[in-house]
């Protein structure tokens, strides 16, 4: 039994079925990738796990506890952190204050939160920007700030939504390095990514979805060579 298990989860927006009876289990300590073409339902899966909207059908278990009826803010409390594909920095707060806002989940003491934030800012190599307002940061740093803020809540499972999108190769290498280091601290990671190179490099297992349904699942190489995946990404002719 994995740390997170989804059983037949379905999300319908009116007539559109964004995620359709999807099941998967994530093992403790792994980096679990989810890939799929645009609009295939990847982010919807994250929003279902983090309870940003109610799921239509199915069940989600975290450490054997059913979590699909918890309020959204409880999800973070039980140890599931997330980042957003379109970054949501607390714009007029500094980097330090952003991370502190996350750290306050586990403490009410300001100096403790500040210490924790300092640690995490250091871990994420954001020291030089600590007193900068989040709104003034360029995209790569904002993406890193998203991760830092989520880390401050001390997650057991971290959901990363397109952390490398829009980054140049050097920046995305730094991001991959950070993700690996997070995994090495014992945090399980589910990552959504478009860039296949990134996914192939860091994922232990990959789930490929299209139109909200699983099309392939397994080791990165197997998934990348799976005819359904090639068809979904490149079209019939290449399959």
């Amino acid at each position: 039994m994995g740390i997170l298990e989804a059983r037949g989860i379905t999300k319908r927006f009116g007539g559109l079925t964004a995620v359709n009876e999807l099941s998967f289990a994530v093992d403790k300590g792994e980096i679990f990738g989810i890939i799929g073409p645009n609009g295939s339902g990847k982010t919807t899966v994250f929003n279902m796990i983090s309870r940003f909207f109610p799921i239509t059908a199915g069940e989600i278990y975290f450490n054997d506890r059913r979590i699909d009826a918890l309020p959204a803010h409880e999800i973070c409390k039980i140890g599931i952190g997330r980042t957003f594909q379109v970054v949501k920095p607390l714009r007029r707060m500094t980097v330090q204050e952003n991370v502190m806002a996350g750290a306050f989940l586990r403490t009410r003491n300001i100096s403790k939160a500040r210490r924790k934030a300092k640690e995490i800012i250091n871990f994420c190599n954001l020291d030089d920007y600590r007193s900068r307002a989040a709104m003034g940061l360029p995209i790569p740093l904002r993406k890193r700030l998203e991760i830092a803020r989520a880390l401050a809540t001390e997650p057991v499972l971290l959901l990363l939504d397109e952390t490398c999108a829009g980054l140049n190769p050097k920046e995305s290498e730094a991001a991959i390095d950070l993700i690996r280091r997070i995994r090495d601290t014992g945090v399980t990671i589910i990552i959504i990514e478009h860039i296949m190179k990134v996914m192939m490099g860091i994922s232990d297992r990959i789930l490929a979805i299209n139109f909200g349904k699983e099309i392939a699942m397994g080791k990165p190489q197997e998934v990348a060579n799976h005819p359904e995946v090639i068809k979904a990404y490149l079209g019939e002719a290449y399959a």
Binding site: H73, E74, C76, G81, F84, L90, F104, I110, A150, A152
Partner: protein, 317 residues
């Protein structure tokens, strides 16, 4: 930094305590008391709307309920209106709970519109429940105290309590959470912040102190009617202008804004006659254009810029 702030606070406090001794004319003292009332409402509004970002266009509801709590105690039960200082804040908080339950379902402009409607609902209710509230005839009470100095110091105590409680809230974990909710509610939720709960934590003290200011107003002015204390422009919108002028989400902004607003308002009224509203309007436009963060807000930014320069230099070396 801390020392400078403490020093500023002490200087402010000393000046505030000494003012009525220096300024003896009743008219000027009256202006000072109005400044205190507005500073209190402004500081209370600032907690909910400035820090937590839930812009309320309906604070007249809390102010009016506070004022009527004091007035109705006298009207119906013959009690001293000073009991209103105890009942007013409680009643304001009691009506804040359902208002929050309704309005916090909405975000941004929709929240503002809902509060605007709720404020008006209270005005119309108090106008029309003539048996209970005296309707448009209003409530007139006989003041027990006539010395302006006494009112000044009572008001000052209320303002000091409002400033202190707001300061403590803002500089705690709650304050960080409120600002997080203002900056991005979804991000706040993703950090495990129960947003509705914390919005209520901002709303309740905000209503409490606005209600307290209302009850104090009844005692001081001795006459209220629904069109005065539930007034949309003269209370709900005015408090927004006061805080915008002084500085949204700053400790001293509402007080500075109240002082400038009331004093300028009186100056324009006495010198410009009925053109004062026009001049006021132009002034508000100018402030929004050139001091979008208010007076205290711009001071903070100037301070931050100079600090950053210093930090940048030492970092470069």
């Amino acid at each position: 930094m801390l020392n400078k702030n403490t020093l500023m606070t002490i200087v402010f406090a000393l000046v505030a305590v000494a003012l009525p001794v220096i300024i003896k004319a009743p008219y000027q003292q009256h202006i000072l008391i109005l400044v205190i009332i507005w500073a209190t409402i402004g500081t209370a509004w600032n907690l909910l709307s400035g820090y937590a970002g839930q812009v309320s266009f309906g604070h007249a509801a809390f102010f009016g309920v506070g004022a009527y709590s004091a007035g109705l105690l006298t009207l119906h039960y013959g009690l001293s209106p000073w009991w209103g200082l105890a009942l007013g804040p409680v009643m304001a908080m009691l009506i804040a709970l359902p208002i929050g339950a309704i309005a916090f379902r909405l975000r941004g402009p929709y929240f503002a519109l809902a509060t605007l409607a709720l404020g008006e609902i209270f005005r119309l209710m108090f106008l029309n429940m003539t048996g209970f509230t005296n309707g448009a005839k209003g409530i007139l009470i006989m003041p027990a105290i006539t010395s302006k100095i006494a009112y000044y110091y009572i008001g000052l105590g209320i303002l000091a309590a409002t400033l202190l409680v707001t300061y403590l809230i803002v500089h705690s974990k709650i304050g960080y959470y409120l600002v997080s909710i203002r900056e991005d509610q979804d991000a706040a939720t993703s950090l495990g912040i129960p947003t509705t709960f914390y919005k209520n934590l901002a709303l309740l003290p905000s209503a409490l102190f606005t209600g307290l200011a209302g009850a104090f107003y009844m005692n001081y002015v001795t006459f209220i009617d629904p069109d005065i204390v539930f007034n949309l422009t003269d209370i709900s919108i005015m408090v927004i202008l006061v805080v915008m002028l002084g500085g949204v989400a700053t400790t001293w902004g509402p007080t500075i804004g109240a002082a400038l607003y009331i004093i300028m308002g009186e100056l324009f009224r006495t010198t410009l006659g009925s053109a004062n509203v026009l001049v006021f309007g132009v002034l508000v436009c100018l402030i929004i254009m050139f001091l979008p963060n208010g007076i205290a807000g711009e001071l903070d930014i100037i301070k931050r810029i100079t600090q950053r320069k210093k930090a940048g230099l030492s970092g470069g070396v």
